[in-house]
């Protein structure tokens, strides 16, 4: 049990540092630009506009017939994209993250474990900002508060834990192996099309479906969409299973990171 909480210990004992760095990490992506923090809202909006045009107008989506308002379809995409962006941000930033913060590793006395927490924290902040934006849109489109949104954090929590675990792995390996960054950048777009963002798993031919459920994003995307747009509940058995997997990845990732970090200063 204590091992399970080991990754949280450096976070707690360095909470002041964590907040400082998290704030800085969020700010530094927009610092100096005219719109500043506005970009965090604007970037997903632009994406949604493009995808709405391509998949809603050019290629007709199957969801148009299932929803009350045609304006809901872009919001379905938005829901999928915000979850996917969260995942991708962590996956693509992690390989270079330790290297990018080289001076923290080699030149000052610093708890290196905190770095990955910041990576996850920034992505989570952007996800929360997008979710807030989504809620506002839903209220405007539906004319009422989307009750399913209250359960959304519950669905996303195990994904955050899973991504933190992946971040431990990827950042540790990426510090040694530079190719990992390129590899993940190449896989990124592929992953977007094999995740049920612009379509539902039900549209996937039966014999491929099992493969889709192996994608860690599938369960979250499907559940969240059902919850927000189609009045579906949470499959609790799947939920429990997801948590077990997430915690396993999380603990293993932290253990891996702690072993690998002994050599960080030597390789960067």
């Amino acid at each position: 049990m204590t091992r399970l909480f080991a990754p949280f210990r450096p976070l707690f004992s360095n909470r002041e540092l964590f907040w400082q760095l998290l704030l800085r990490d969020i700010q530094s992506s927009v610092r100096g630009s005219v719109l500043g923090i506005g970009w965090i809202i604007l970037t997903p909006l632009v994406l949604v506009a493009i995808y709405t045009f391509v998949f809603g107008v050019v290629l007709q989506s199957a969801w148009v017939s299932k929803t009350d308002s045609s304006l809901e379809v872009p919001l379905i995409y938005f829901t999928g994209l915000m979850v996917f962006s969260f995942f991708m941000e962590i996956i693509t930033r992690a390989p270079e993250y330790i290297r990018a913060n080289k001076t923290y590793v080699t030149k000052i006395v610093f708890p290196v474990e905190v770095l990955d927490w910041i990576l996850v924290g920034t992505a989570a902040f952007k996800l929360a900002a997008s979710a807030t934006l989504l809620t506002v849109f839903l209220v405007l489109v539906l004319g009422r508060f989307p009750v399913g949104m209250l359960a959304a954090p519950l669905v996303i929590a195990p994904l955050v834990v899973l991504c933190a675990g992946l971040a431990w792995f990827i950042s540790a390996v990426g510090t040694y192996v530079r190719d990992l960054n390129q590899l993940l950048l190449a896989i990124g777009p592929v992953l977007m099309f094999v995740s049920p963002i612009f379509y539902s798993v039900e549209q996937v031919p039966e014999n491929f479906r099992a493969l889709f459920w192996a994608n860690p994003l599938t369960w979250v995307l499907e559940t969240l969409r059902g919850l927000l747009f189609f009045n579906q509940g949470i499959d609790w058995q799947g939920y429990a299973l997801y948590w077990v997997a997430a915690i396993a990845v999380f603990s293993a990732g932290f253990g891996f990171f702690q072993r690998a970090r002994t050599g960080f200063a030597d390789v960067i």
């Binding site: 760095l21 530094s28 100096g32 001076t103 040694y176 050599g263």
Partner: protein, 444 residues
Amino acid sequence: MTSDGIMIEARGVSKSFDRGRGQLSRLWRTFAGTGAENAFWALRDVDLDVRGGEAIGIVGRNGSGKSTLLQILCGTMRPTSGTVKTRGRISAMLELGAGFNPAFTGRENVRLSAAAHGLDAPTIAARMDSIEEFADIGLYFDRPLHEYSSGMYARLAFAVSAHVDAAILIVDEILGVGDSAFQKKCQRFMHGFMNGGGTIVFVSHDPGAVTALCKRACWLEAGRKMEDGVATKVMKSYVDSIYSLSGPPDRTGDADAGEINDPAVGGQDPYWGASNRISISRFSGDAPRHGFGGCLIEDCFISSSGSTLCQSVTGGSPVTLHIRARATRRIDCPIAGFIFRQSDGQNLFGDNTYLTYKDNPLSVLPGQVFEAKLSFVMPYLPPGRYSIAPSIIEGTQHSHVHLDWREEALFLDVVSSPVRSGKVGLVMKSIYRGETDVDGAIAR
């Protein structure tokens, strides 16, 4: 702190770097704990005990393992074998502005840097004014760091380190930047820090800076400890070794020429009451140079007898600076000169051949070698590093062309000195204390 007061305890510390191929196999070796492939040993079996209230200077050439040792003492790098135990919070200044983000203001960076040292928000807020005052960079404190000069960086970094309740301060060469007022402030702070029981590990290339701060020094050579003990003694061996090893060994044809010509041995000035040994490096042919060409300074050295090179002289003794140059074109009025500088670039003194030879111009033909000898009494020098920049110019003192000018062609190092005040100590002709005659003339 334990009863024995030892703050840093390093036992048999060795570090090997893996120079093997393959990123993945390297990751594997980290996990498997198998030895490094094609290992490079940066440190070998280093033991080090440093007590509270003690400052130790670490010296050694580039690549001798100083930085590796510091990183291991800080805990940012793990030794391959051996153990390091430290007590109390460590504040490390290994690199100028490490951990600072240039896009953020000084105040924001202080907040972060203090948090990285483990201070909580209320403590940081309470100390902010004091940090701002220590840094003393005025309005720049609220400007982003990319507007800072390197001196301001150093001020900010030092100001933070001075306020984080560190028990051990590890400083690598950071004080070289910043003006002398700030350096004085740092010196004062570090002395106060030691008196309060703090421990300092200090790395510098400037022997004067080491002996000014540290009573003890440790000399590393190729990853091993060569000498550890009284700072002035260790620095003397170190400085001697770099000068006897650098430069082509066949220059004088006699490796011990420096020792034979060394008037420093036993030489004591009657007025200063102590000897002021000055070690001199060999002429460095690849020293930074500028000038329009036309001649090439081929050699520059100091002798005490007026003929052969000396590796050390004493302050207060007569010396001759030799400058030899080869003309690559016809030169009509060559002037040879030099400037004697402090390590911070301040000119202490200098002279040239112009006034003596202005009515007796010399013409040098291409390929011809000419020599200038400037004899003077070497002043007493405070501890520190000095350099001599020889130059050949053509024309007059007022209207001339630089032909060849070498910065830092010679380095001079002083480890111990009787000079207590001023930039140089003069050779006193006589010193008298007693009654004055009625007419004020000195009675002797």
